[in-house]
Assembly symmetry: C2
Homo-oligomer: 155 residues x 2
DNA sequence: TATTGTTATACTCTATAACTATA
DNA sequence: TATAGTTATAGAGTATAACAATA
C-alpha cells in the first residue's frame, strides 16, 4: 500500500495541544475498559455508580441520589427499577414522609457491589500501569482543581 | 432546614478513590465549559474538532477523518454537511479516485477556526487556573500513558 | 470483490413537561 | 404551595445494515 502521499495518522497537533482533548481521550479509554469490566456483573457504569452510592449511604432518597449523580430524576427511575428488579436494592416507603423512598442494598447487592469493586480496582491498576504513585497523586490533585474550576464551582 | 439526619453532600469516598471517576468528572467539567465557549461560533465540540482537522490536513477524505475522530462514517456525513452548508469547508471530487471527496477549509472556515481556537485557548487557561505549568506537563504525560494503556493500545 | 459516501434506522443517553400523592 | 416519584416524550449521540458509484 502507498502511504507516501497520505500518511496513516493525520496531524492532530492542534488538538493534542489542548489538555481538554487529551483529558477526554483518556476518560474515553477508561470508560471503554470500565464498561467491559462491568459486563460480567451485568452492570453499566451508571448502575454501578448508583449501587455504590446506595451501599455507602443507607436509606438514601431517589432525589438526593439523582442530585449526587447529576442525573435528572426521571432518568434515575429506570436505573433504580433495574437494580430493584434484580433484587440488588430495596425501595421502602419512609413512614415520616410517605412521598419518599428509602433505598438500601440487599445482601445480594452488597456482595455484587464488593465483587464489582474488586474488578474495577484491578481495571484501574491496568489502566494506570506505568504511572507512578507520586504522579497519580499529582494527577488526582490537578483533576480536583479542574473540577473546582467549573462554572459556579462551589455554590 | 434540618440536615442533621441527612447531610447535604452524600458520601462518595468509594468513587472518589477511583482515578477514572475523577477523570470523567474533570472531563465533563471541561466539556461543559467548552460547549459554552463554542456557542458564539455556532460550533459543537464535534464540528469544531472536524473543522480543525480539515484545516490541518488539507484534502482529507471523509473516511480518514472519520477514523481520526473515532466516528462512524454515516455519522460524519451530517457533520460535514453542516460545515459545508455554512461554507466553512468545501467538498470536491478527487480526479484520481472519483469515489472520494477532498475536504478543505474555505477562507471563512479558516477565519472561524482561528477565532474559535483563540476562545478555546482562553477557556483552557480558565479551566486550568491554579494548576502550575510543571503540574500540567505531568498531567499531560500521565494522560498519554492512560490513553496508551487502552485495549489494543498500539496496534 | 472491496471501498467511498450515503440513506434509513435503531438504540442509548439525556432533558423537559405534566401528572399523582403526599406534605 | 411545594416536593418525591412517575410517565410520556423529544432530542442528542452513536451504531449497524444495505445501497449506488467507483475502483
Amino acid at each position: 500500500m502507498t502511504d507516501d502521499i497520505q500518511p496513516h495518522h493525520i496531524a492532530d497537533d492542534t488538538l493534542a495541544g489542548l489538555v481538554g482533548y487529551r483529558l477526554r481521550r483518556a476518560s474515553n479509554a477508561i470508560q471503554g475498559d470500565l464498561s467491559e469490566t462491568l459486563k460480567p456483573f451485568e452492570l453499566r457504569m451508571i448502575t454501578f455508580t448508583a449501587l455504590v452510592l446506595i451501599r455507602d449511604n443507607a436509606g438514601l432518597s431517589q432525589s438526593r441520589l439523582a442530585a449526587a449523580m447529576d442525573v435528572e430524576r426521571p432518568n434515575l427511575v429506570v436505573i433504580v427499577d433495574e437494580l430493584e428488579n434484580r433484587d440488588l436494592i430495596t425501595r421502602e416507603r419512609v413512614p415520616t414522609d410517605r412521598r419518599t423512598y428509602a433505598l438500601n442494598t440487599t445482601p445480594a447487592g452488597e456482595t455484587l457491589c464488593a465483587e464489582a469493586l474488586e474488578a474495577v480496582k484491578a481495571h484501574e491498576v491496568r489502566m494506570l500501569a506505568g504511572v507512578e504513585d507520586g504522579t497519580q497523586a499529582v494527577l488526582v490533585a490537578a483533576l480536583a482543581r479542574i473540577i473546582g474550576n467549573r462554572r459556579g464551582g462551589d455554590e
